[in-house]
Amino acid sequence: MNELANSFAFNNAWLIPALPFFSFLVVGLFIRPVSDKLAGIVATLSVATAAFLSIWLAFDYFSAFPAGAEHPGLISWSFEWLRYEEHLAVNVGVLVDSLSILLMVVVTFVSSLVHLYSIGYMKGEDGYGRYFTYLNLFTFSMLGLVVAPNILQTYVFWELVGVSSFLLIGFYYTKPSAVSASKKAFIVTRFADLFFLIGVLLIAVVGYNAMSMFGAPGSLPDNVSAFDFSYLTSSGVSIMMNNLGLLTPAMILIFIGAAGKSALFPLHIWLPDAMEGPTPVSALIHAATMVVAGVYLVARLFMPFAASGTALLVAGYVGAFTCLFAAVIACTQDDIKRVLAYSTLSQIGYMIFALGVASATETLGYTASLFHLFTHAFFKALLFLGAGAVIHAVHTNNIWNMGGLAKKMPITNITFLIATLAISGVWPFAGFFSKDEIIASAFGTHHYVIFAVGLLVAGITAFYMFRIYIVTFLGKARSEAVNKAHEAPMTMTIPLIILAALSAVAGFVHFGDFVSVGAESGHAEGGFPIWIPALLSGLSGIAIAWFIYAGNSERSKALTERLGAIYRVIYAKFYIDEIYLFVTHKIIFRFISAPIAWFDKRIVDGGVDLTGWMTRRGGAVFSRLQTGQAQTYTTWMVNGVIAVAVLIWIFVS
């Protein structure tokens, strides 16, 4: 703490989430009705300032606690919001540690670029000011989430993220598809959040009781609350909960919440639809904010997860399955944003299974996961923004209506290619290092199935990414729109260039020195050079894509026909949505909801109606007493008083 006492950025860390919030209020209430243009500028500037502050904070923090040293969690600012008991309080505050700094930097940085990009992208749209208002709110929610020092604040902002994503996905609220997509996203994540809430309450109850019995653990201040992360991640709590048999259920419940936000199988169905929002919003949701919230949550609670073991393993396999599953679907989709959405699912799967394979002693996976989060934020944002630029130019999402855009849009082409290479894991781009580390951690912890999936998906990723790259940018133009396409304006290309540069070099950061968990940073390098099969896998994917899609399109069509039914199943995304519909409509609605509705209508409402009916009838009967004659009432009153007097007299004397 002392090292940072003089740091402006640390002392005013609350400004980082607060700036977008104030901007949200000011823009939404005062500027938006006056000037759309100013709204965009103010919103962008506020987030850019927050980004600047968070980078400053990162700089100060890592100067005070240099690479390799221990990175303590510090509370920069906090106030007591609710206090129930001595050990049951909810604070609102700003927690500064390496994890929150990482996410603050990523969120504010990507968000400010998205804001900047949006100024160009959204020009001329209806609701321009409203858009920036929502964007600010979204950024604020996400920042509030990552700086939360306790799980209840996390939960509050978690829901706020859900609300603001609902608003943004449904931004084109006149479009029925956008409306249903926003509802879908909200309901699915909300459904998952329910489990999260139960998990939170479970651990809070146990933690509170433990603290009432034994007092605060020695290393923590006396006024620590059962909700605080510092308390939840201490080993004593985990052991005790484990002994009670509650740790694994609680952690799995929390993981379900994380899976909802991070769109892990089977709660992934909202994410591909979420592209109904404006493309920069997709970039923000997919790259830096909403979907990584789940990863962040698991990372934040890594110690209890690790203590449970089982929960972590569940996370690992769910992640690995999502990773493969989404990658396979991505190979068949025609919508450029949909492909990118499935690639996001796949990459999130990587991050989650990397966390899953890690343990309290073997922590490489933790570092690798966050490293991938870090690099993925840049190239996925880049991919989406590039795709946005393309869509902006040709006004279609279907890749088969594009082609040959490389000449029309050189900057977009090059930046998109860099991102594609990065996500495919080609040296020296960022994705290579992080993905390599993930695969290595899976291998190093002897999870060979997951390791194999990781290797396979690396190839598939390269395949589908190059599929869309080749179809979109190379070859001949396949539609009229392409001929009219031209390069995007400056506000859109500048973010592309910045992100491209970062995608290229971000991998060289010695990430493990900064973000790690536990005592050792656990670089399980050496031994077998994992990067060779990983790279080979990626390159072979690129080669297959090149073979199939470069040149004429005959081969791809032939392949499609030959795969037949399998292709159709994959193209229909394994009919997951249909299964959901079937389950909800045919089973849940018919056998659970309908009886409940009947019960509600007939028994509950009927009871209320009966009360009302009885009251009305009773009123009708008693209203006969209401003659409207004041003197009748007075007679009752006088005789009543006399009766009371007589009664008092009889009973008192």
Partner: protein, 186 residues
């Protein structure tokens, strides 16, 4: 039967019974008179007799206030109300027999209850030596403005507020709504 014939006491007694008889008769006229104006006059008589009672009880100041406010103010107000709402020819219909019976029952029940209660209760009488303040008006005035323990300054203020509120309320209620937009005409 032992009738003491202390002359001062006798005049007192005669005055009491005369006034009592007058006031009871007048009160009966108040509640039964078919011509409402006669009831008002009877009410004035009852109230004047009330002032007489107060004088018999040595509260001459209260008697003065009674005459001033009740007879001079309230009765005249009531007479006004009569004049505004009925005419000389309007003779009140007698109440229905049931209502009459009910009223008679209620009032007699009250009378019986109260009289029985009085006869059963031992009231703590003040000692013979206790003297009433010489100048009741002065004592009442001091008590009304006394803000210490046992003072009545708060009720006094409340009463003044009540009067103000009732005056304003009366104006608002009685004002002809059709004429409210006219200028300064009264």
């Amino acid at each position: 039967m032992d009738i003491t014939l202390n002359p001062a006491d006798l005049t007192h007694t005669i005055a009491f019974y005369t006034l009592a008889l007058t006031s009871i008769v007048a009160a009966l006229i108040v509640v039964t008179a078919k011509r409402i104006f006669r009831a008002a006059v009877a009410l004035a008589v009852v109230l004047i007799c009330g002032a007489g009672f107060y004088i018999l009880l040595n509260y001459d100041f209260i008697a003065g206030v009674q005459l001033l406010v009740y007879v001079g103010g309230i009765v005249i107000l009531i007479v006004f109300a009569v004049m505004l709402t009925s005419s000389l020819e309007s003779i009140e219909e007698p109440p229905s027999l049931g209502r009459k019976a009910l009223g008679l029952f209620s009032s007699l029940a009250f009378l019986a209850t109260a009289v029985i209660a009085f006869s059963e209760t031992k009231f703590p009488l003040s000692s013979i030596s206790a003297e009433q303040p010489k100048d009741v008006a002065k004592a009442v005035g001091r008590k009304l403005l006394d803000y210490g323990a046992g003072g009545y300054v708060l009720p006094f203020e409340v009463i003044s507020l009540l009067l103000l509120a009732s005056v304003i309320g009366a104006i608002v209620v009685a004002r002809n709504p059709k004429r409210k937009n006219e200028g300064s005409a009264t």
